[in-house]
Symmetry: C2
């Protein structure tokens, strides 16, 4: 008998016991939300000095003496751009500071390309017929949603553990209707993987058929380590500088998971020409971002070392939750050959692959037992996980005890759903 | 001899003396910027308590207990929406709170209509061929710029002192390619006029040929009085409620000129259906606006009476500057039949009409003498003031003494440019 057959037989035998356990869990009336990558209250409080970092109106001046309470400075507070430049290892002049949402900067960048075209005198995307984006999967649902809303078709490309499968990417971009790719290159959402040097080099040297192809490089977790050492991510801007791909990459960053998710500072990084081009358009949209919050951030974050120390405090809070998740999975699911999960060194998510054709059922069972997960399928374009296997686990918000409880419930649901499937 | 001929003869005779005076002024090397409606530092300091209005993390909760430091609450802080609702006399549920820029909300609203269409299943504007907006003139250059960037043609409609010429508006909107009109109905930019009851009623009962025609109702100065009494503006939402025009109006508001221009709170007001429709789209764009700044505003602004008291403090600072502007114009220009100016009861601008074909020359002369005005023509679409007559005067930023000095220079330039013209 094959291993899978043995597992199936054992699970089918266990089904009545699993059902009884599940019934007991339901009667506990749990209410645990693990659907989104929300920092917990303890993490938020690491940044409460931000509330008081401007002590008086005399603090409302930039280093060059500009009164940030007033209109002006469309590019934002220069010294915060300098700090971000150090964190991201890019020139400060290649940064546009925004409001509180990097998602908004991505959405606006897509909309500008649709309405007005990218830098380089290409036609607006709206005038180029049906266009498409590549979406490494599993990936981030909000990236996919922007395309969906804008009528851009989504083409899934599998992740490999070292980033997207570049053989497939290189093949797909021969189609000139492929205009972009969504990437979370470090501690990817949800797999947690960091793109390998080879992957980044291949992305940097792509030869897309579309001259206005753009890489949307979401550095959401770029300094969000769980371990003492960080994953190394090649600097794609160093690789493309001076090449014909110099204008191919838009990167995005924010302090949403450094300071406050509701009131951080977002930024966009790109080539000198792309930034100049974007700034010209942004001037039609707004007079300036909220510079008060930018200067508050500058006074609170101070310098790169202070930021890294803050990130270590975040890690101290988060790591036990990730460890507990993996511990519970190992405890209850280690024997099942059809289940696997990631054990990331950073970021906000663990990617759990359950038995094929049961992810929706697992999420439903968990929900009915009071544990809300990200909807099954959300990590795929059109919510369509062809194997119905992948679940995104977000351990950041609940306490360690709640994570233990919730993951125990989820593990039970994984086994129960598999046992049900084997019993069909 | 006609009055104009007499004035011309006198001015031509005075030309050498005017030139000498101008030369003397140039040698003073002034540096005064009256180009934009920027609040002055004294006004900004009225709101400095805003910097400290959140005293601790315990203050970071909404009335219903939501921790605004985190993700969530896409509609913003409910109690601030309630306060805006009171100020604007609209239901709170018809308000969307935004970031710091109402211009950004206008731009986004136009872009969404272009990309996705308005509420009511109309085609996206991008799929309807050439479209146009009506622009009452003189008007606000940043409104015009949004249309220009988006490829929407601009059709000028003259202001009458009681709002736009509604005979012309009613005629123009018979063209289904006319999709919108920009209005600043109270203390209009730059004329300072408030739309009369009749104008508002006629706008509310328009019968545009385009079913997706929209009124962009910019309430930028709605509580920005210079006098003890306020101009009465009919509530257009009351007039359209329950009519076939119920979804025709998008209104915009911000605290940019109540608290801080660089870090206020913007809002959009519309019908229930338009707001629901807009919120659905905004959900693709961002998770939530900066709620920390919203709650800071709520704690600082407190209630409508506190806001009105704050506006009176603004008026105490601003009114002497407006009075000085008008006083200087009366002193130097009262005798000239071809010159006129507004004497507004609120808002941020005085509209100055100089001798036809000399506005550009006046602005150039003033600039060379160290006084920067809003560029001549900026108050008209495509910077094209057909009479080259209108100048927007923004007295808010300089001190009263500086206003006196600058307006004396401008008055001299008005006379000098006219004298030059008469000498041709």
């Amino acid at each position: 008998m094959s291993q899978l057959n043995q597992e199936a037989e054992a699970l089918v035998k266990e089904l009545p016991a699993l059902r009884a356990q599940y019934q007991a869990v339901c009667e506990e009336h749990l209410s645990l939300d693990m659907s989104r990558g929300k920092p917990c209250a303890e993490q938020l409080s690491l940044s409460d000095e931000l509330l008081f970092s401007l002590k008086s109106k005399d603090d409302c001046l930039t280093a060059s003496g500009f009164d940030i309470r007033n209109y002006g400075l469309p590019g934002g507070v220069p010294e915060l751009a300098e700090l971000f430049a150090e964190l991201l290892d890019v020139p400060a002049e290649n940064i546009i500071l925004g409001g509180n949402s990097s998602l908004n900067m991505m959405y606006d960048t897509v909309c500008r390309a649709i309405l007005f075209g990218t830098y380089g005198n290409c036609l607006p995307w709206k005038d180029q017929g049906k266009i498409k984006f590549l979406c490494p999967v599993p990936g981030y649902d909000r990236h996919f949603s922007i395309c969906k809303r804008c009528g851009i078709d989504l083409v899934a490309v599998p992740m490999t553990g070292k980033g997207p499968d570049m053989d497939i990417v290189e093949e797909k971009i021969k189609d000139p209707s492929i205009k972009g790719i969504w990437c979370v290159p470090k501690y990817s959402n949800p797999s947690g993987e960091t793109y390998s040097d080879e992957t980044v080099r291949r992305i940097a040297s792509m030869r897309p058929a579309a001259p206005d192809f753009r890489v949307f490089w979401d550095l959401a977790y770029v300094i969000h380590d769980l371990e003492d050492t960080t994953d190394k991510l090649l600097n794609i801007f160093d690789l493309i500088k001076g090449t014909e791909n110099e204008n191919m990459v838009y990167a995005f960053f924010s302090t949403s998971k450094i300071t406050y998710p509701g009131a951080g500072i977002a930024a966009m990084v790109s080539s000198k020409e792309n930034i100049r081009h974007a700034k010209e358009d942004i001037a039609y949209q707004t007079i300036s971002p909220d510079k008060i919050n930018q200067l508050r951030h500058m006074k609170f974050l101070k310098d790169a070392d202070t930021v890294y120390a803050l990130m270590k405090q975040h890690a101290r809070i988060l790591k036990p939750k990730f460890d507990m998740t993996v511990h519970i999975f190992e405890k209850y699911l280690a024997g099942l050959s059809f289940v696997n999960w990631t054990n990331p060194r950073g970021g906000y998510f663990i990617s759990l692959n359950v038995m094929p054709k049961t992810a929706k059922r697992v999420a439903q069972l968990a929900k009915e037992a009071g544990v809300i997960l990200t909807p099954a399928g959300a990590t795929f374009p059109y919510n369509n996980d062809p194997e119905d296997r992948n679940l995104r686990i977000a351990p950041s918000y609940p306490s360690v005890d709640e994570v233990e409880k919730a993951m125990t419930v989820v593990s039970l649901c994984v086994k129960l759903a598999a046992a049900e499937k084997f019993s069909e």
